[in-house]
Amino acid sequence: MTQSFDYIELKIPAKAEFLSVIRLTLSGIASRMGFAYDEIEDLKIATSEACTNAIQHAYTSNEHGEVIVGFGLYGNRLEVMVADNGISFDFLAAKQGIGRYEETDSVEFLREGGLGLYLIESLMDEVRIHNKEGVTVFMIKYLEGEQVERDVETIST
């Protein structure tokens, strides 16, 4: 079944100064779709994290690429896709050593990074990462109520 949707795309230089532009655009789109304040803030963080990863990787590999952010606007959900410009890196390696801090972690060994992917997975309903000819992060956030209905369906026997 093909669902109709609206598609909006932004292409920015891989520079951190444009992250706020992405967030502003995203805010506009998400509030237009009827997302609540907290959901919009979650979307802003997850999308920023994905863009930051793409930008930082482009920067460390000394290539001034571009980052593409695509928004798929469906009736019940917003899909966000963040793709770097064909610069591939080892996402599985990047995923290792991430996650939340534990109370028992000793202060001098606390990690100072690696929380980005963990936050993306915590704040979005679905996350898929493709690592082929560059990295694409694909994220979905459902409008309130939609996801709950799906959950109820799977729980009731």
Partner: protein
Amino acid sequence: MNISIETKEKDQLITVNISGEIDAYTAPKLRESLFQLAEKKESVIIINLSGVTYMDSTGLGVFVGVFKNIRSNNGQLKLLGLSSRLMRLFEITGLSTIMDISGQIEGEVS
């Protein structure tokens, strides 16, 4: 610039007011200012975040780094005035159990 950092020092007590957005663009400036302050021995650094409208993992990384430096210099770090959004970020990542954070601001603390 999308971030403003004001610092007041009185003996060992350092108070910092941060307002604006903390992301990968503004974090380097924040890191530079705070790491300088964290060099001081046995200081108490109180950071008011009530003016922070956006923060992500780059901001958390800066605060974790500063926290480690301050502790290694036998100092203390307190983060005050966290909005419910910022509080959520510290809770999701488990940092709320490790660092001294509060939603209240200085004047309200009894």
